[in-house]
């Protein structure tokens, strides 16, 4: 029987990982929509001083409650009307975006640092340390955090800084839980004991082996918590226990507008829609990032 030369199997060259990722990102509708909306809002917030027609704090009792542009009586210099003390709504909306975004980022950062530190340490070391940290997480979960936030802010006095600190100190539990389980999974991979065997210090292992791999989950949780923080701040401000007037927080604007709810509903509709769009875009972006970087976890 002759032995023929068997032709080698064809090599199928697929796209590179970078190209694949880019294709997935641009193909994901949610990520695209969320990203675009979020980008627009961030841009508007950054350019607020340039774009606002008026000073958001400037009151004018003469011009109280003028109508937005879709109303026949609207004034051209106030495209979104004015509120109950005559401040331009469009300007307040734009500056309010800054407040919401600022709070979102800062709280996500603070709680992220706390939660990630706790979670990674618990997941990496296990044993007693894990038990203690898990207990702390359970404690935090058991506190009705809306109430506690309200209580603390109410007792200490509301302001932007207080809100950021309080929320930052309270919203870390999801970070901790997710980071802990992600770290546990990584820890069980072979390259971690390998690094230990070579003699890497614990800190170095944590930073160079564990963190880069849990980054994906971290980003997803960060977006969720950012959205959460924004909604919470709005709720706190709505209750009068958050950012204080005259700072233009969207939640505060809804609260101020609610007395005029029945006749001038746009006073609460506009900031409400703004909040909705911001949170929606963050959620879409977060879901999108999760889908794109770990498609196996897709429902």
């Amino acid at each position: 029987m002759e032995l023929r030369q068997i032709p080698a199997a064809e090599e199928i060259l697929g796209p590179s990982p970078g190209q694949l990722l880019r294709r997935r990102i641009f193909g994901h509708k949610g990520l695209m929509i969320g990203g675009v909306i979020l980008g627009i809002i961030i841009l508007l917030a950054l350019l607020a001083p340039l774009l606002s027609p008026h000073d958001p704090y400037q009151q004018s009792l003469v011009k109280r409650i003028s109508k937005p542009f879709w109303h026949p009586d609207s004034k051209p210099e106030h495209p979104l009307g004015t509120d109950h003390v005559g401040r331009d709504y469009l300007s307040r909306l734009l500056y309010g975006a800054r407040i919401s975004l600022l709070i979102g980022f800062c709280v996500a950062l603070i709680s992220g640092v706390i939660g990630t530190a706790l979670g990674v340490v618990a997941g990496y070391f296990g044993g007693r340390i894990d038990m203690v940290i898990t207990f702390i997480i359970t404690l935090r979960l058991s506190l009705p955090f809306v109430l506690v936030a309200v209580a603390v802010v109410g007792l200490v006095g509301g302001s932007l800084q207080v809100v950021i600190i309080v929320l930052g100190l309270l919203l870390w539990n999801r970070y901790a839980v997710v980071m802990r389980s992600a770290t546990q999974q990584i820890r069980n991979q072979d390259y971690v004991p390998a690094a230990e065997a070579v003699g890497c210090s614990t800190a170095r292992i944590l930073l160079s082996e564990i963190l880069p791999n849990v980054l994906n989950s971290l980003v997803v949780v960060a977006t969720l918590e950012m959205a959460n923080a924004i909604l919470l701040e709005a709720a706190l401000s709505f209750l009068g226990l958050g950012v204080q007037p005259p700072t233009p927080s969207w939640g505060l604007m809804v609260s101020e507008g609610k007395d005029f709810l029945f006749f001038e509903p746009w006073l609460i509709t506009i900031p409400g829609v703004a909040l909705f769009l911001l949170v929606l875009s963050i959620n879409l972006a977060g879901d999108g990032i999760r889908d794109v970087t770990a498609p196996e976890s897709r429902g």
């Binding site: 506190l143 506690v148 200490v156 709005a234 709505f238 769009l277 929606l280």
Partner: protein, 305 residues
């Protein structure tokens, strides 16, 4: 199962104790409580008097132990504002909150679970997309805003429901919808994901190979396994609802515990605030304990060891 129960119980008690200490300690965040009560016009003598009367001159741990000792017997002290026992006020306000929370979670479950099941059976169908769309919308909407918009819609433009108060069941419709809507995305997604995973499992394939009917496969075999995580999440969501009721209650002027907490914070009525936080926390701890136990019972791998 017994060991499991005991462990969970011990944990719950430990958590409850620490939480009680924390909620007691909140009081001191505002600085000296005596000054806060006395107000701006109080003189030093007034403040000293307040301190002595309310026992603020005692060391903290004594104050805590006194408080927790009384609390265990149901005595939460006197409300600074209402001048009646806090327990009395809470007893009057608790029912509204419980009714609201309960109807909200039932509302959420009744809609989310079937929706999640159907979405799982027909992935990427229009029902699935609608369900996902609604859940995405629901997660993004500020609850107080939704409440207000519903009020405008259903009380003003179409006068169908009363905007505020608690006189009858109609008063609870809108608050229930708003509060429940917030929990729906999480429950629906979890049900959907759980069902999809279960439906792809080997034992479902075995069930089909046995010739079982699809109804039996869906409800007896699939749902039974998929529902397990939903139970825990529902309990947690119920806890959130109780905590989050503060916003809804203020929007719809419902005389519940959340509203009480808000008023008391504004009025520096510390005993009430401490008591409300403690009660909510204990309810939440009990709920999670119950959820854990139900979970353990539902999963034979834990129940029968």
């Amino acid at each position: 199962m017994l060991i499991y129960t005991l462990k969970r119980l011990a944990l719950a008690v430990a958590v409850a104790l620490v939480v009680s200490a924390l909620s007691f300690g909140l009081l001191y965040l505002s600085g000296d409580p005596a000054t806060a009560i006395g107000g701006e016009a109080a003189t030093d003598a007034d403040i000293l008097f307040i301190r002595k009367t309310y026992g603020f001159d005692q060391p903290i741990y004594t104050q805590y132990l006194t408080w927790i000792g009384k609390a265990l017997r149901g005595d939460f002290g006197m409300s600074y504002y209402f001048r009646v026992p806090v327990s009395q006020i809470m007893a009057a306000r608790l029912p509204a909150t419980l009714i609201l929370g309960f109807s909200a979670i039932v509302f959420a479950l009744v809609f989310s679970i079937p929706l999640g099941v159907i979405a799982a059976i027909r992935p990427n169908s229009w029902i699935d997309r609608t369900a996902l769309f609604l859940s995405v919308m629901g997660q993004a909407m500020p609850s107080f805003w939704l409440g207000l918009m519903l009020m405008v819609l259903l009380s003003v433009w179409l006068p169908l429901l009363p905007p505020s108060g608690t006189e009858g069941w109609e008063y609870f419709v809108m608050p229930t919808i708003v509060l429940g809507y917030y929990a729906m995305p999480a429950i629906m997604r979890l049900t959907r994901a759980g069902m999809m995973e279960v439906l792809a499992s080997d034992y479902i394939r075995t069930a089909r190979a046995k010739g079982l009917l699809s109804g039996s496969i869906l409800f007896k075999h699939a749902l039974r396994n998929a529902i397990i995580p939903v139970v825990s999440v529902s309990a947690v969501q119920f806890g959130f609802m109780l905590g989050g009721s503060i916003v809804i209650e203020t929007v719809f002027a419902i005389q519940g515990m959340g509203y009480l907490a808000w008023e008391s914070i504004k009025r520096s009525d510390f005993p009430t605030v401490q008591a409300v936080i403690l009660v909510f926390a204990v309810i939440y701890i009990v709920l999670t304990l119950a959820a854990d136990l139900i979970n353990g019972w539902l999963d034979p791998r834990i129940r029968v060891t």
